[in-house]
Amino acid sequence: MERSIGSLISILLVAASAVPLSAQSFKPTKSIEAVVHTGPGGGSDIFARAIADMMVKEKILEQRLQVVNKSGGGSATAMAYLAEKKGETHTIGFFTGVWVTNPLTTMEAKVMIKDLTPILRLVLEPAVVAVKADSPYKNMKDLIEAAKKSPGQLKQSGGSVTGRDNLVRLVIQKATGAKWVYVSFPSGGERIANLLGGHVQMMVIEPQEAGEHIRAGNLRVIAALTEKRLPAFPDVATLKEQGIDVPVIPQARGVLAPPGVPKEVVQYWEGVFDRFTKTASWKKYLEQNQFEDGYLKGPGLNKFFDGLTEQMREVLKEAGAKVVR
């Protein structure tokens, strides 16, 4: 009897002492590797570096965030690199939508996003549809009608065929019955150049990329690809408002960790980013880049990934792309 009470008490003591310990059991002891899938100067690289600098400025992190470029095969190299670092507590990765879609279409990209440890989603990058300022299309209706009248004559410039630009085109085509051509250019510069040169009629572009050309009077924005209107373009209606009822395909950015990372580490990062996203620098950054605050963690995040993966699979299959997973 005494022995069982004794063992019960010791169990309770251990349990009681374990709780506060696990809440503070992880603290990084050296600089953190932040893996991005682009080379220097690419979108994710700039995003990660900006965050690293803000972390230093706002003194949120004791250790430095060291950006490591693992570019190649879309996100395949970065994801394979993270998958190999199983259990590594001082490594994180900055994901984007590509990390979800790449494994679906590429045999060699064996790591799926759910194989890694999602931590949280930070932002949603909105996009707009832009046309040349002197084009006859003042809104999506003009564009869709023109496309329906001459199917396959209008052209859109964009990135890879599995990227958001093309997926947006595919869902709009399906919903409206219009058809137009997608021409893929590897660099953003070429996409804009072809639009400005009149060789294509439209493109899906991020608002801050378009900003300067709009200010100079070269481009016009005719639709916002978001749920609500964008603060920087209050006169531009969303697709839904213009009668095109399609799901918004988000371009999300966030943080994840290698597989097999203990829960305390995830909780630590959640805590760090909880504090980080409340800072003034972060809010200013969101405003400057016209990002939507997409803060999401925990089970909601997992649901987001599952939903996105399924949505991507469907859209890609309908587009005729080979879906391998």
Binding site: K70, G188, N218
Partner: protein, 509 residues
């Protein structure tokens, strides 16, 4: 108030110089070009990675100073890239591959100093030309560049591939075979239009294709080392006398390169303006052009000084050209300008058509400092030429392991992956085998560089025309370039016919 345009430009330039010649800007300009030269010398480490590494440093600097420094790294690297190409046959930068062809041969003949010197001089002349172009005709040229659509790019790539005619050497068939293999290598990786992967053998490292720098270092440098290992004691580098004549280019050399200076300047600048057309293409085309107009074309490839001057000039003037779309339209034309664009945005500038108007001090300060930077580079590099040339005095058994070590570091640092080093070994073997079987290496590299761009341009064009092939031949710009391509391809055939007729006439007489 609109004054006379010439006065405007002059006023602006004076403003620019007042900015560029401030002590801080002069200092950081020097730092930039110095770092750039070192980065260019080291293979595998390119301007994009270096600029990215130095971005945090620039936050403490004034923004105009920062862009001056970063631009200095950009064109400084082009100067440095020629050094290892000439001395060791290791292309320091992708644009320096063509310099290996004649530059290394000159080094083997004891004329390394002359080669290094003419590279520096040509880079200076062409670089200055590039800045002049940037200053005077940037906006109209940028508008002209916008006229380039995929059909024009296809014609440009075809023109570039036609350069194989000038790289052929003895056997045209072998050169074509090498080029086709290069074109095949370019198809390795993910197809951008269908997201299918071609020839990747299941390896994700090959999804982005074969890295050009790894392939060229392997074929040129490692292949060369392997070939030299054949003879016990290695093949002798001709001892050079150390007389000033061989340490620097002579006046005759410079006279011989008159056209090369012009050639490199024009070709590099124009191609540099086109977004997506890299400096490697401009160096190939200017080399081909130089050989086409030369009085002694058959000597190219054996150590002809114009064969160094032309491509070196092209890849420097190309820098000025690639800044045109960046500064006048906010469109980055290459990896390096993409980072410069990101840096400008990070500092709060808004690159776009209004950048020059809104920030004249930035633009004109940058332009003026590029003049200054080119002068600095010339002064920096010329005295170092005799010093660098001494490297060749090092005995072979130290030189070859050094070349291998540098090649490995270069290959590894491209993306921090051991896979690239394995690729280096593979291409080294390929380079050696090609040498033994008398297949020229330059066409393979040409095919590898241009294959991707050409296929893309072709498919983009056909996408735009919905399968109508005529789009390739109905646009004036592309027709002009395609005609030129045809002429170049027909040249050797016409020459053979002429020779054959001469021979027949001789036999009759």
């Amino acid at each position: 108030m609109k004054g006379k345009p010439e006065l405007d430009a002059l006023n602006n330039l004076l403003l620019g110089f007042s900015v560029a010649l401030s002590p801080a800007n002069l200092f950081w300009c020097f730092v930039g070009v110095f770092l750039g030269t070192i980065v260019g010398i080291l293979p595998g480490l390119g301007p994009p990675a270096t600029i990215a590494m130095l971005l945090p440093l620039t936050f403490t600097l004034d923004h105009t100073t920062a862009i001056i420094m970063l631009a200095g790294i950009y064109y400084g690297a082009k100067y440095g890239g020629s050094t290892t190409s000439i001395l060791l046959n290791v292309p320091g930068e992708s644009a320096s591959v063509v310099t290996c062809l004649d530059g290394y041969q000159m080094a083997r003949q004891g004329r390394a100093g002359a080669a290094l010197g003419i590279a520096a001089i040509s880079s200076f002349v062409a670089g200055t030309f590039g800045v002049l172009g940037l200053m005077l005709i940037a906006p109209p040229l940028a508008r002209f560049a916008l006229k380039f659509a995929p059909p024009e790019y296809f014609a440009l790539m075809a023109l570039g591939l036609a350069m194989v005619v000038f790289l052929a050497g003895k056997s045209m068939i072998k050169a074509l075979l090498a080029m086709f293999v290069g074109l095949w290598l370019a198809t390795v990786g993910t197809d951008p239009f269908s997201a299918e992967s071609r020839f990747t053998f299941g390896r994700y490292e090959l999804l982005d294709g074969v890295d050009f720098i790894v392939a060229s270092i392997g074929i040129f440098a490692v292949g060369e080392v392997l070939a030299n290992l054949e003879a016990r004691g290695g093949t002798e580098f001709l001892k050079f006398s150390g007389r000033l004549k061989n340490l620097l280019p002579t006046l005759e050399d410079i006279k011989a390169c008159r056209f090369a200076f012009l050639n490199g300047s024009l070709v590099g600048f124009i191609i540099g303006v086109l977004p997506g057309a890299g400096s490697t293409i401009s160096s190939f085309i200017s080399y081909g052009l130089e050989k086409a107009v030369s009085k002694h074309p058959e000597k190219f490839g054996t150590g002809v000084i114009e064969g160094v001057a032309a491509p070196e000039g092209a890849n420097n003037s190309d820098t000025g050209g690639s800044l045109v779309p960046l500064l006048t339209l906010g469109i980055p034309g290459s990896n390096t300008t993409a980072i410069l664009l990101a840096a400008l945005i990070l500092w709060g500038f808004r690159p776009g058509p209004l950048l020059i108007q809104d920030n004249p001090a930035l633009f004109w300060g940058l332009v003026a400092s590029m003049y200054v930077g080119n002068v600095m580079l010339l002064i920096l590099n010329l005295p170092l030429v005799p010093l660098f040339a001494q490297i060749l005095r090092v005995p072979h058994y130290v030189l070859y392991p050094t070349i291998l070590g540098v090649s490995i570091v270069g290959a590894y640092s491209v993306s921090g992956s051991l896979f690239d080093v394995w690729m280096l070994g593979f291409f080294g073997l390929l380079g050696y085998v090609m040498r033994k079987l008398d297949f020229p290496a330059a066409p393979l590299v040409l095919g590898l560089v241009l294959g991707d761009g050409m296929e893309r341009a072709l498919r983009q064009s056909l996408m735009m025309s919905q399968g109508d092939l005529s789009i390739l031949v109905t646009r004036p710009l592309s027709v002009a370039m395609l005609l030129l391509t045809m002429i170049i391809i027909l040249m050797p055939i016409l020459r053979k016919v002429k020779d054959w007729r001469l021979k027949a006439a001789g036999e009759e007489a």
